[in-house]
């Protein structure tokens, strides 16, 4: 679909665009970010420094970026998809060469005012590119092996680079995000069944290989799996994080221990309490009601996106919005599952709540794309 297919007259222009912004989504996102500020203030022991204030600043910057992107016509972004992907890929390669090693992994490029994580940018670029790809690809060809292989390569190349950093969490998110776009675009369900079956087979094989001469993983890797399955087996070592996180969450009860009253985070029992494990502080201080409310907020964000996707007939817009929504969903679902002990600790932040500039900016930019698609959707006949 091209620019020419739009009925230009129905596209809002100038200040009118402001009216067509999906304001509900903006409010929801701001609410989620607000929860983030509240929690960052709390985990700093009731202080704007060192986390809450920079986060607010980045949120402000992110809003500007979001609206900037939103008011730019969606077809521009479609045309930029390839550029964005290649750019992100370039950055990923760059980080391999000059990246700063932090937390045992090479993830950042220091660009002065903030540290940029190319892997975050890649999540959105990949979704954009895949949406553009399927917009371009005639629907009939979608399930043909060659045309399936192309997006698979497009997904696996950045995934491999991210995995090498190593950043397992982001790699998983890339795989899932890309996979969802392919799924929604109509790739035959049998491909997914086969891949899922092969994955299950591989896991079984790996687990069976333990203790055999042809063992497929190193012993320490098996140990990590053990600790994931039973964190109590190593409460002061590798299982410490997850054990303490569960204690924090669980001790919250129905209504929590009160704002700024969470002993687990207050007394530093919680690891990474301002990033990946921030949800535990929320659960500890605001209890089930607080934690569940955040979950509802997230679900509403996804729901509004899906609804926006249903409203537009533009295939690129649809796929883009659904891809962004899915990525966002996987973000919080994996993070929550992780801190609640349902998934291994892989290092996925809680979107818009965890402290982190790249993730915040990239996510807001992604929602800028969603807004752009919403504002510039084909209207009328």
């Amino acid at each position: 679909m091209s620019y020419l297919e739009y009925s230009v007259k129905t596209i809002p222009s100038g200040l009118k665009k402001v009216l067509y912004v999906n304001w509900a989504l903006v409010i929801l996102l701001s609410a989620v970010c607000g929860v983030g500020f509240l929690m960052l203030y709390s985990v700093a022991g009731g202080s704007m420094q060192p986390w809450a204030e920079p986060q607010v600043e980045r949120f402000a910057l992110g809003l500007v970026v979001m609206f900037g992107i939103a008011f730019t016509p969606i077809w521009f972004w479609r045309n930029m998809a390839g550029v964005a992907y290649l750019g992100s890929l370039g950055l990923l390669l760059l980080v391999e060469l000059i990246g700063t090693v932090g937390m045992g992994a090479q993830r950042w490029i220091d660009i002065g005012f903030m540290r940029l994580q190319p892997s975050e940018v890649m999540k959105i670029s990949l979704v954009m590119l895949l949406a553009a790809y399927y917009d371009w690809l005639p629907p009939k060809k979608v399930s043909r092996p060659f045309w399936v292989l192309v997006p698979v390569v497009l997904i696996l190349v950045p995934t491999a680079l991210v995995l090498k950093q190593p950043d397992l969490g982001t790699a998983i998110l890339l795989l899932l995000g890309g996979g969802v776009v392919m799924f929604v675009a109509g790739v035959s369900i049998w491909y997914f069944v086969v891949v899922a079956g092969m994955g299950a087979g591989l896991v079984t094989l790996v687990m069976m290989s333990r203790g055999k001469p042809w063992q497929l993983l190193k012993d320490y890797q098996f140990k990590r799996i053990d600790i994931f399955l039973d964190p109590g087996s190593d409460p002061l070592g590798a299982g410490y994080h997850i054990t303490q996180a569960k204690i924090a969450l669980g001790s919250g009860g129905w209504t929590g221990r009160g704002y700024l009253q969470g002993t687990q985070s207050r007394l530093n029992f919680l690891p990474e309490k301002h990033t990946d494990f921030i949800f535990t502080t929320l659960g500890e201080e605001f209890g089930f009601l607080g934690a569940f409310s955040l979950l509802v907020l997230y679900v509403l964000v996804v729901a509004f996106c899906v609804s926006a996707a249903m409203q537009t007939k533009d295939r690129f817009s649809q796929l883009l919005i659904l891809g962004v929504a899915a990525t966002f969903f996987f973000y919080f679902a994996v993070n929550m599952a992780m801190v609640m002990g349902l998934a291994p600790v892989v290092g996925v932040p809680l979107p818009l709540v965890s402290y982190g500039g790249s993730a915040m900016l990239v996510l807001l930019a992604a929602f800028g794309l969603v807004q752009s698609a919403h504002i510039h959707k084909p209207r009328g006949r």
């Binding site: 799924f183 001790s251 009860g253 979950l295 007939k313 295939r315 899915a326 609640m340 349902l342």
Partner: protein, 648 residues
């Protein structure tokens, strides 16, 4: 590329379908997350709340101050001393811990080793943990540290309590001492008090300190503190103050005890003084003694070895744990048994030719030429052996054994002291059981004069004297009050002994000291109304062959000193109106004479409540006695050695 509308619509529908599928899957995941949240935060919340509290709350014990031990007059026997120490906190000391410690070294007496140990300890502990650099400092040292505080960042003075025994050697065996809790201590207790887990906490190891541990220890206080993940104390949540242990007052008279120890001197000897009106033990001495304070501080290997290898066995409490053949003092038992059984009357005389023959064995009297005709009184006075050989054969060993028990010999007296010996008053059945042999008449004859199997501790001998004096089954008593509450005392029931038997023995005991042929005539008291009665004894330990008979007696030693007889003396006074009874045992003194003299001196000291006048002594001894009195080094107990602060 151009696309037909149908194409577009179809793909749009497919996207919608797939999107809905996706949404459904996502909702399922969200539902799972929500359920998990509910399970953790609502269903299992209690468990996690508890874990969170366990995480953050530490209960620290506050050690209680140990109860004090006083003598009968309120003189402190065991107190708590302020222990001044200096501690360092690494994180407050800054980067130059070494400089700080070097400066500290110029101020107080600490060694390079102390400094090294401190640094080693600091490396092991978290930076906020206070580490003791030096303890048992003087107040002056502590003040110097306090004054120089600004130059010593991280260093602070600290005050704790530690046990102190102001009369050191005098009551080492009675009061005992405290020491750190050992693994064995923990195991031997059914329900170990958590306070025992406090590092450096000390519990009673011997003597009253051990036996009255439950009273003295007190109850630990607790403080609940909130700690963070690395254990740093964030704040104190609440505090239950410790309960100080109960104070214990003993029946001991510290001044008399001090005199007794001085008088025992360097002999391997012991003496027990008892108030016969109520059984109070006024003094229990065992010599040589040791300084229990050494044990509280952690005795050095050298000091401990010196104590262990001393042939006078300072660590053994000879007064209650030492058992000796009572020798002729046991004739009191033999005589009582015969009189009570009606096998002897006080006027009856027995001829002593110097020996008796039993079968083919000859048993000698100590006076080989014989005593001639003697009645009971004369036989006691001159300690004739043959008389009692004869009497013992009439009455039999079992009746003698029963009488010994009646008089407190061969009975374990229940006192809060360590290793109280039972002694032995043998019976036929006992020999069969233990030695698998029949009782021989020769055994009876030996037992008649307190040799052979018979064993008694100085405590038992003192009890025997007290029971003879009062005619009651007096029980010895060491604890006068606990927590200012007097220990209940029941009046002693009369002995199962006919009054005429008592009188018969008593008159003999009077003659031993005061009679013209008395074996302890030189130990008589001249003061009117303070006449002493008593009985000498000497026991030939090493002529007895069977090794187990010598239980409680020195082993593995073949110094000439240890081949000599033990000297014993039991006494009570005044004869007409008995007030005090005592026993003295001097190991290897060669005979009973030194014991008798020592007993007389102690008795006079007790009767006068201080140094007796020389007129109490026979005139020919007064010069020597005066020299002896002047040479004894006694403590000045009028000015208490315990500063007031030690009472806190």
């Amino acid at each position: 590329m151009k696309r037909t509308p149908r194409d577009t619509d179809g793909s749009h529908r497919k996207v919608s379908r797939r999107a809905l599928l996706m949404g459904g899957a996502q909702l399922a995941v969200v539902a799972g997350l929500g359920l998990r949240m509910r399970y953790m935060q609502v269903v299992e919340s209690g468990k996690y709340r508890m874990l969170a509290d366990e995480n953050r709350i530490n209960i620290r014990l506050i050690p209680p101050a140990r109860g004090l031990i006083f003598d009968r007059n309120g003189i402190l026997l065991a107190g708590n001393e302020q222990n001044y120490s200096v501690v360092i906190v690494r994180e407050d000391a800054g980067d130059n811990v070494h400089d700080v410690l070097a400066r500290l070294k110029d101020l107080i007496p600490i060694t390079d080793e102390d400094v090294e140990n401190t640094i080693k300890e600091m490396k092991r502990r978290s930076p906020f943990v206070p580490i003791t650099v030096a303890d048992r400092l003087s107040w002056e040292d502590l003040s110097r540290v306090a004054v120089n505080g600004p130059a010593l960042p991280g260093i602070s003075p600290s005050v704790g309590l530690s046990r102190h025994y102001p009369l050191d050697t005098d009551l080492a065996h009675v009061v005992g001492y405290v020491g750190p809790v050992s693994e064995r201590d923990l195991k031997s207790l059914d329900d170990p008090d958590p306070v025992l887990q406090i590092p450096d906490f000390q519990i009673g190891k011997t003597g009253v300190e051990q036996k009255l541990e439950d009273d003295l220890r007190g109850k630990a206080g607790t403080k609940r503190i909130e700690v963070n993940a690395v254990g740093r104390v964030m704040r104190e949540l609440d505090r239950v103050p410790p309960v100080t242990g109960r104070n214990v007052q003993l029946t001991i008279d510290a001044a008399l005890q001090d005199y007794l120890h001085a008088r025992l001197g360097g002999e391997a000897a012991s003496a027990v003084v008892m108030d016969v009106t109520n059984g109070d033990l006024l003094a229990i001495g065992s010599s040589p003694s040791f300084d229990p304070n050494l044990f509280v501080r952690g005795i050095s290997y050298k000091d401990y070895n010196a104590l262990m290898h001393n042939d006078h066995r300072p660590l053994v409490d000879k007064s209650v744990a030492g058992t000796y053949p009572p020798g002729s003092t046991f004739k009191i038992v033999t005589g009582s048994a015969a009189l009570h059984a009606g096998k002897l009357n006080t006027n009856e005389t027995i001829y002593c030719p110097g020996y008796i023959e039993l079968g083919n064995r000859r048993f000698h009297c100590w006076k080989h030429s014989g005593h001639g005709h003697l009645n009971l009184r004369g036989a006691l006075e001159q300690s004739c052996d043959v008389f009692f050989y004869e009497v013992a054969q009439r009455v039999g060993i079992d009746a003698m054994s029963a009488m010994a028990h009646e008089l407190g010999v061969g009975v374990r007296h229940d006192l809060p002291m360590s290793a109280i010996a039972e002694g032995l008053a043998p019976t036929k059945e006992w020999k069969r059981r233990v030695h698998k042999q029949d009782w021989l008449i020769g055994d009876t004859v030996n037992a008649a004069i307190g040799q052979g199997f018979v064993l008694a501790s100085p405590l038992q001998l003192a009890v025997m004297a007290a029971r003879m004096a009062t005619g009651t089954a007096l029980q010895p008593r060491l604890v006068r009050s606990v927590d200012s509450i007097d220990q209940p005392r029941t009046p002693a029931p009369p002995l199962g002994l006919h009054p005429f038997a008592l009188d018969g023995i008593r008159s003999g005991l009077f003659s031993v000291v005061n009679g013209s042929h008395g074996t302890a005539r030189t130990a008589r008291i001249e003061t009117d109304g303070m006449t002493m009665a008593g009985k000498t004894g000497s026991s030939q330990v090493w002529s007895i062959t069977a090794a187990d008979r010598a239980r409680g007696v020195i082993k593995n030693e073949d110094l000439p000193w240890n081949r000599r007889d033990h000297g014993l003396f039991v006494a009570y006074a005044p004869y007409d109106n008995p007030r005090y009874a005592l026993s003295v045992v001097i190991e290897h003194s060669g005979g009973s004479h030194p014991a008798a003299l020592m007993a007389r001196d102690i008795m006079l000291q007790t009767l006068y409540g201080g140094t007796p006048p020389l007129t109490a002594y026979p005139s020919f001894q007064r010069k020597d006695i005066e020299a002896q009195q002047n040479s004894l080094q006694l403590r000045d107990l009028a000015a208490p050695t315990t500063p007031a602060r030690a009472r806190t």
